[in-house]
C-alpha cells in the first residue's frame, strides 16, 4: 500500500464533511446523519449498503441521543472503537463498512466497526461431496470461514494472520498451528504472499499462481478445497492454510502428489475400506492416462497381445470405420470434453437431458454411423469415469489433459511410447517441489514412515507420526490411542 501524505482532518465539522463528500461524490449509499451531542454538532457517516443498521440505530444513535452528554470513547456500548485524525484512514474505514463519528471542534474522528457484508449460507460444496463426514463448506466471508475453523480447533496455538494484499487491498488470512508448522516454510509462504503487488482483485486462483513454484506444470502444487474438515486435518499435519476474502476456496500448502488422492471419507470409514478406495484411486490415475493409449497401441501395433476372441471382436467393430484409431480417440475425447464443459453451465433439468443425449445419441448413433468403433467408446467411457474418481477437481483435469500427449506418443511408438510418456511424467513429478518438499514423496524419495498413509490407509490407531511432507517440528501425533487394550 502506498503511503500517501497523511491528510488530517480539521476541527471544523463542515469542512471535514465537505472533504468526505468530495471523495464520495457519485456514491449514492454514502449517508450522513447529524445529531447534537455534548452540545456540539456530531455527524455520523456510513455507507448504507454495507453497514449494520441495527448497531448504528440502537447502539450509536439511540445511546447518543439518550445520554446527550458524555465521552464517546467510554460511553458507547460498542465492541470496537478507535480514533484517528488521518483522512485516509477515515475513507478506508468507510469503505470497509465502518461508521465514522465526526465531532465539531475536535480533530479526532471515531471509527466504530459496523460492517455487515452479505454472505450466503453454508452448504456442502458440490464438487467435493463425501459419503460420511461433515457436510458444511466455506463461504465467501473471511470471518465466517475462520469461525468454522475456530469452532473445531480451540487452541491458542492456532495462529491467524490477516494481511491486506494488493491495491485496493484484499484481506488474505494465513492460518497455521504454531507448535507443529515448520518455520522455514512459513517464512517462504509469507515472503511470497507479501511480494504480490497487484492492482486488480485478488482471488484464490490468482494467488496460487503467484506463489506456486512452477505454474506451467500440469500438476497443481497447492491443494484447493472448500471443506473445513480437509483444512483441519491438513493443519494438524503441519501445513499452512491461506484464505482470500471473497473466495470460498482456500489453499493448503505444501501439497504432495498423494494429497490429491485423499478424502475425508478414507479416514472416517473403516481401515480396510479406506485402503481399498485409495488403491482404486491410484489405479484410476494410471487408467485415465494410459487406457486410450494402450488401446491404440494394441490395435495399431501389436494386437497379438490379446486372446484371439478379443482380436476378432475388435476386428469386427473397426471393420467399417474410416478413421485410424488415433483420429477416433481424438474425436471422442474432444466430444467428451465438450459435453463435460457444457454440462457445467446448464441448469439441472436440462443437464439430465444432455446426459441422455450424450449417452444415446453420441454413444449409439455414432457407432451405427460407423464413425467411431464400439470398443473405442467403451475404452473412452471407462477413461472418463476413471478421471472423475480423483477427488480434487484440478488434478482430474490435469489427468485428462495428460492423456492427449500419451495418445499421440502411443500412435507413433506403441507400447514403448506409453512407457516413454510415463517416464517423462514421472521425471517431471520427481523434479517438482512444492515449497521445498518433494512432490512425489513418499515414493520418491522413499520415506518408509509416510507410506502408511499414501498408498494404503493404516488404521488410525497406528498413525503415530505425522507425515514428513511439510517437515513439521513436532512429529509425534499420538502416543497411545488404544490404552484400554492391554
Amino acid at each position: 500500500m502506498e503511503t500517501e501524505q497523511t491528510i488530517t482532518i480539521s476541527k471544523d465539522i463542515t469542512s471535514n464533511l465537505e472533504k468526505l463528500k468530495d471523495e464520495f461524490s457519485n456514491v449514492f449509499d454514502f449517508k450522513t446523519r447529524k445529531i447534537t451531542f455534548n452540545n456540539r454538532p456530531l455527524c455520523i457517516a456510513f455507507i448504507d449498503t454495507i453497514s449494520n443498521k441495527d448497531i448504528i440505530n440502537e447502539k450509536i444513535i439511540k445511546v447518543l441521543l439518550n445520554i446527550k452528554l458524555g465521552n464517546i470513547m467510554t460511553d458507547l456500548p460498542v465492541s470496537t472503537i478507535s480514533s484517528t485524525n488521518c483522512l485516509n484512514e477515515i475513507q478506508e474505514a468507510l469503505t470497509n463498512g465502518n461508521t465514522v463519528l465526526l465531532v465539531d471542534g475536535s480533530n479526532e474522528a471515531f471509527i466504530i466497526e459496523t460492517a455487515l457484508f452479505e454472505v450466503r449460507s453454508t452448504s456442502e460444496p458440490t464438487n467435493e461431496k463425501v459419503v460420511s463426514g461433515s457436510h458444511d463448506g466455506f463461504v465467501e466471508s473471511l470471518n465466517k470461514n475462520i469461525n468454522f475453523l475456530r469452532s473445531r480447533i480451540r487452541s491458542t496455538d492456532f495462529k491467524i494472520e490477516v494481511l491486506p494484499i494488493g491495491d485496493p487491498g484484499t484481506n488474505v488470512g494465513i492460518l497455521y498451528l504454531d507448535n507443529i508448522v515448520n518455520k522455514d516454510i512459513l517464512e517462504t509462504v509469507k515472503v511470497r504472499i507479501n511480494s504480490i503487488q497487484l492492482e486488480n482483485n485478488l482471488t484464490t486462483g490468482k494467488l496460487e499462481e503467484f506463489i506456486e513454484d512452477s505454474s506451467l506444470s500440469p500438476f497443481p502444487q497447492i491443494l484447493e478445497t472448500e471443506r473445513p474438515d480437509r483444512v483441519i486435518s491438513n493443519l494438524f499435519d503441519g501445513k499452512i492454510c491461506v484464505i482470500v476474502e471473497g473466495s470460498p476456496t482456500v489453499s493448503i500448502m505444501p501439497a504432495s502428489f498423494f494429497t490429491f488422492f485423499q478424502t475425508p471419507d478414507d479416514y472416517n470409514g473403516r481401515a480396510l475400506i479406506g485402503t481399498f478406495l485409495r488403491i482404486i484411486r491410484l489405479f484410476s490415475f494410471f487408467l485415465c492416462i494410459t487406457l486410450p493409449a494402450v488401446y491404440i497401441s494394441i490395435v495399431s501395433f501389436s494386437y497379438e497381445i490379446l486372446p484371439y476372441e478379443l482380436v476378432t471382436t475388435i476386428q469386427n467393430s473397426i471393420e467399417f470405420v474410416p478413421f485410424s484409431p488415433f483420429v477416433e480417440a481424438i474425436i471422442m475425447q474432444l466430444i467428451l470434453e465438450l459435453l463435460r464443459e457444457a454440462s457445467i453451465r446448464l441448469p439441472s433439468p436440462i443437464a439430465q437431458t444432455i446426459g441422455i443425449v450424450g449417452g444415446l445419441v453420441i454413444g449409439t448413433a455414432i457407432v451405427e454411423a460407423n464413425l467411431v468403433s464400439n470398443t473405442m467408446i467403451v475404452v473412452l467411457a471407462i477413461t472418463a469415469v476413471a478421471s472423475f474418481v480423483v477427488p480434487v477437481h484440478e488434478m482430474s483435469f490435469s489427468l485428462r489433459l495428460l492423456s492427449f500427449p500419451m495418445i499421440i506418443l502411443a500412435s507413433i511408438y506403441g507400447f514403448v511410447g506409453i512407457i516413454f510418456g510415463l517416464m517423462l511424467i514421472f521425471i517431471h513429478m520427481v523434479k517438482l517441489e512444492s515449497f521445498g518438499s518433494p512432490y512425489f514423496s513418499p515414493l520418491a524419495p522413499i520415506r518408509l514412515k509416510d507410506l502408511k498413509d499414501a498408498l494404503i490407509r493404516v488404521p488410525n490407531w497406528k498413525m503415530k507420526t505425522r507425515p514428513t511432507n511439510a517437515r513439521p517440528i513436532d512429529t509425534i501425533q499420538s502416543n497411545d490411542t488404544k490404552g484400554w487394550k492391554k
Binding site: V299, F301, E304, Y308, V311, Q315, S317, E319, S324, F326
Partner: protein, 364 residues
C-alpha cells in the same frame, strides 16, 4: 530457417501411420494352417482366414479357405499373400496341421520361420493328420463352429482328458534337439465327411514320423508312464471272466523310474495308481475281498498293456519316456559309451503296477 524446422518437427507428431504400425484392419487373420507334401521339393499350404461380412448394420464373422504351394514355409506364405486382401498375419495362429507325408521328413525346417519371426506366437498347437492335412481345413466349419476354433478346442479338450500331451510349437522346439527324448504328437484323422477324430498319438524318431501310432488307450497309458496326467484321465478295462467292464478315473499317480546300470542300462518303472471307480458292470463290490480282487485284476491288465506300449515304442525307436535324458543326467559315462539310436530298442523294461481303489462313486 528455424521456424521451418519447428514446423516439420511438429508435423512428425501427426504422422498417424508410423513405420511399425501393423494395423488390425489390414491384417488377414490366419487362425489355422495345414502343410502337405506336394512333390519332393514343394509343399502345399492351406490356410483358413477370418473376416467379417456386413449384413445390414451388423457385421458377421466368417472365414474363407485359401491354399497355394511353394518351396518352403516362408515361400508359400508369400505366395498366399499375393492372393488375399490384406496382409497374411499368422500372429494368432491357433493350430498347425502337418500331413502324414510331410511329417516323415525332418520337422525342423517347417518350424524355422515361426521361430525367427518376432510376431509369431509360439503357443499354437501342432498335430499330425492321416492323409492330407488340407482336407481337414477345407471343411471350413466343423459342427457349426469355425474349423480353427473347433480344432483348437478339440485338441484342448483332448489334453484335458489326458489323451494327448500338450504340444505347442515352443515345447516341440525344445524337444527337437534333445537326443535323450523323442516327440509324440497328436494324431487326427478325418474318418468321414463330417467327422474328425483324435486317433491317438504319432510316434516320432529323431523328429521324423515313423508311421507308427499309439491308439487312444495306449496313449493314455503312455501319459501315465510319463507322469503327465492332466485334469482327468479315465480308462476302461475288460476283466476277463464274465466280460465285466470296469471304468475308473485315475486320481493320482506315483511313478518311480529307475535305471539300473550294470553292463547295460535296465529300466524299472514302478507305478502306483489311485483310482476312483466310475462304472462296474459286474456284481456289487460290497466285500473287501472282491475289491482287492478287482484291484489286482486291473493291475494285471494295465501291466500287460503297458508292456505292449513299451514294445511299440521300442519298435518305433521312439524314446518318449526320456530315458536318454535320465542317462545323460545321472549316468553320464554310460551315455557317452552308448549309441542310443541302436541300443534303445534293446533296453529291457520292467513295469510293475499297483492299483488302489480310493472311492467307488456314491454306491458301493
Amino acid at each position: 530457417m528455424k521456424k521451418y524446422h519447428y514446423i516439420t518437427f511438429l508435423l512428425i507428431f501427426f504422422l498417424t501411420g508410423c513405420w511399425d504400425q501393423h494395423s488390425l484392419k489390414d491384417s488377414a487373420l490366419v487362425l489355422s494352417i495345414a502343410f502337405d507334401q506336394l512333390t519332393k521339393d514343394s509343399i502345399k499350404a492351406t490356410a483358413s482366414v477370418r473376416t467379417n461380412i456386413s449384413k445390414g448394420d451388423q457385421t458377421e464373422a466368417t472365414n474363407y479357405i485359401i491354399n497355394d504351394q511353394g518351396a518352403s514355409v516362408r515361400d508359400v506364405r508369400n505366395n498366399i499373400d499375393y492372393q488375399i486382401p490384406g496382409s497374411f498375419s499368422a500372429n494368432k495362429l491357433l493350430v498347425m496341421l502337418l500331413g502324414e507325408n510331410i511329417a516323415k521328413n525332418n520337422l525342423y525346417p517347417y518350424f524355422d520361420n515361426f521361430f525367427r519371426f518376432i510376431r509369431s506366437p509360439l503357443t499354437s498347437r501342432v498335430a499330425i493328420v492321416k492323409g492330407q492335412a488340407s482336407s481337414i481345413i477345407e471343411m471350413k466349419t466343423y459342427k457349426d463352429i469355425f474349423i480353427s476354433e473347433s480344432l483348437s478346442e478339440m485338441l484342448e479338450a483332448g489334453e484335458n482328458i489326458s489323451v494327448i500331451p500338450k504340444e505347442t510349437q515352443e515345447t516341440i522346439y525344445k524337444k527337437m534337439d534333445d537326443p535323450g527324448t523323442d516327440l509324440v504328437l497328436p494324431y487326427l484323422e478325418k474318418t468321414d465327411d463330417e467327422t474328425i477324430k483324435i486317433k491317438g498319438v504319432a510316434l516320432l524318431e529323431n523328429n521324423q514320423f515313423t508311421g507308427k501310432i499309439l491308439n487312444n488307450k495306449q496313449s493314455k497309458l503312455l501319459l501315465l508312464m510319463q507322469d503327465k496326467k492332466s485334469h482327468t484321465m479315465s480308462l476302461s478295462e475288460q476283466l476277463g471272466s464274465n466280460n465285466e467292464v470296469i471304468s475308473f478315473k485315475v486320481k493320482s499317480i506315483k511313478r518311480n523310474l529307475q535305471i539300473k546300470n550294470e553292463k547295460q542300462p535296465k529300466v524299472t518303472i514302478d507305478l502306483k495308481i489311485k483310482i476312483d471307480l466310475t462304472e462296474f458292470t459286474g456284481e456289487d463290490l460290497a466285500s473287501d475281498i472282491k475289491k482287492k480282487e478287482i484291484e489286482n485284476k486291473i493291475a494285471e491288465n494295465i501291466e500287460k498293456e503297458l508292456k505292449e506300449v513299451v514294445s511299440i515304442l521300442q519298435d518305433a525307436n521312439c524314446d518318449a519316456l526320456g530315458i536318454g535324458r535320465y542317462l545323460m543326467a545321472y549316468h553320464p559315462d554310460t551315455w557317452k559309451k552308448i549309441n542310443w539310436e541302436k541300443d534303445y530298442s534293446k533296453v529291457p523294461f520292467e513295469v510293475n503296477t499297483k492299483v488302489i481303489m480310493y472311492t467307488s462313486g456314491i454306491i458301493l
